[in-house]
Amino acid sequence: MGVAVLLKQVPDTTAKISISGGRVDEGSITKWSISPYDEYALENAIQLKEAGFGDVVAITCGPARAAKCLTEAAAVGADRLIHILTDSYLDSIQVQSLLSAAVKETGFEVVMCGKQAADTNSGSTGPGLASTLGFSCVGGVTGVSIDGGLAYATRLGPSGLEKVEVGGPCVFTFDKGDSELRRPNVRGIMMAKKKPIDSLLPNDLGIGDSDSMVVIKDHSSPPEKQPGQKFVGSESVPEVVEKLRGEANVI
């Protein structure tokens, strides 16, 4: 019994992203953080632990720098840390096979992660991992509780906000919820520094080398906006409305 939480380390959302030689210049990124939606997954997993639902295992996949997000997770209560060390760009299938191997290793049947990561904004990992593992997937949840072997999740579904019941193994992907994210205390931070990290290479998980089927060709900055027209006072509104139709042709 327990929860496997998947964390991705991404540039902090306040970080400036610069591009050099057609690629995002990772070296110039000054602050890396746990992807925001993953933080809600972690918070919910810790709440389940406090309610008696076993250990929390935090899993990340990425280069050496990503170990920091596991230590941050340990500081708020993660019990075991698994780092799958990878250095190159991975496609969705590669990411999912690595993470599914790590989840299988924990033996846990509840997996939590963010609905999408703040860098690629894709959202492929949760539902794809669920397919790979043969688990169910409930996406965009804001809270999960477990009672009598069944999970209850609040999600924004097609017909509105609803509470759903899930039986069996499941991957939950988190949206921003109402939960206040806990901050680590000093003791937590000190303990986390001593917490060992299981660093695994793909081979340790039985995953052989493969080439990414998706290849990045170029990164570029969005075109700069030309300076616009500025008006002062509400008396200019009629003129601007006229331009929205005549010049911009958008209304």
Partner: protein
């Protein structure tokens, strides 16, 4: 190139993005099959020009949205070298799940696509444009309103497949009905409010303008974080939604970097802010230095007059 399009539905009807998916597939050539989960909109999908076949997939599992059950039901019916879906929340989940089942890679939220394949998308919530190459067989979700719709006038054959599938997800309680308002990620026009609106009740003034324009109402992160009444589903920007409407109207939004990332690719931006130095004016095509209290009533009145003619 043979393509399977997973149709998108909206309140029991075919969502217009489906014709955009077909339009994108048509530009690549080859036969196009449209799969309609739950059979929703199958007869309308058959009328989209360029569609060769429509598969209407029906069964008990489509009564509730269960990503895994839907994916298990649809996957065996999905064939071809390319799978396309919308990059809506459900579209992304389904195509992730189906592509994983088939062991093929997926690229999400693509805004332009060239033959076999160079796909363009934004990452870091709009701060960077990424171009990737990917070879068939593969799966790609497309952003709403980024591709030309295929025309009407098709007459594809519709076949119906009835599948029985176990479901693991059951709705126990409806907590709140879905907003009747258009979602910001799908709207041609968005009017968003920031903390400059003063209090959440004042968003009613944005709703009134939105009603005149048929627009969606959005919000800045500051507004969502400050006021519990403004749901996160309305948030535009990093950690919210990245949007590219034809017209984005920012009211009382100063223009933090996270917000600008999510909306700067809008075709036209109108900013209304009382602070002439607000960064939002740096990306606005039209800027009005005014309080919203002064500007919004005039804006509403002018729009009503213009649109009633």
């Amino acid at each position: 190139m043979s393509t399977t399009v997973i149709s998108e539905s909206n309140n029991g009807t075919l969502h217009p993005v489906t014709a955009q998916l077909v339009g994108a597939a048509s530009s690549l050539g080859g036969p196009i099959t449209v799969i309609c989960p739950g059979g929703v909109g199958a007869s309308d999908a058959a009328k989209i020009s360029g569609v060769a076949n429509v598969i209407s997939v029906v069964g008990d599992c489509f009564e509730t949205y269960d990503c895994s059950a839907w994916s298990k039901t649809l996957s065996p019916l999905v064939e071809g070298e390319l799978i396309l879906s919308s990059s809506s929340a459900i579209g992304r989940e389904l195509i992730s799940s189906i592509s994983a089942t088939k062991g093929i890679p997926v690229v999400q939220d693509v805004t332009s696509l060239k033959n076999s394949f160079s796909a363009t998308r934004t990452i870091y919530s709009g701060k960077v444009i990424e171009e990737v190459s990917i070879s068939p067989p593969c799966a790609i979700s497309l952003r709403v309103n980024s591709f030309e719709s295929a025309a009407d006038g098709g007459s594809a054959e519709v076949s119906t497949v009835n599948v029985s599938q176990e479901v693991a997800v059951a709705v126990k309680q409806a907590l709140a009905r879905a907003s009747e308002r258009l979602d910001v990620s799908e709207a041609d026009i968005i009017i968003s409010g920031g903390r400059g609106m003063g209090e959440p009740a004042n968003f009613s003034h944005l709703n009134e303008v939105a009603d005149v324009l048929g627009a969606a109402v959005g919000a800045s992160r500051a507004a969502v974080d400050t006021w519990g009444e403004i749901p996160h589903s309305m948030q535009v920007g990093q950690t919210g939604k990245t949007v590219t409407p034809n017209l984005y109207i920012a009211v009382g939004i100063s223009g933090a970097i996270q917000h600008l990332a999510g909306m700067r690719s809008s075709k036209f931006i109108l900013a209304i802010n009382k602070d002439p130095e607000a960064p939002i004016f740096g990306v606005a095509d039209y800027g009005i230095v005014s309080t919203w209290e002064d500007a919004l009533p005039v804006l509403k009145e002018q729009l009503i007059e213009l649109l009633s003619n």
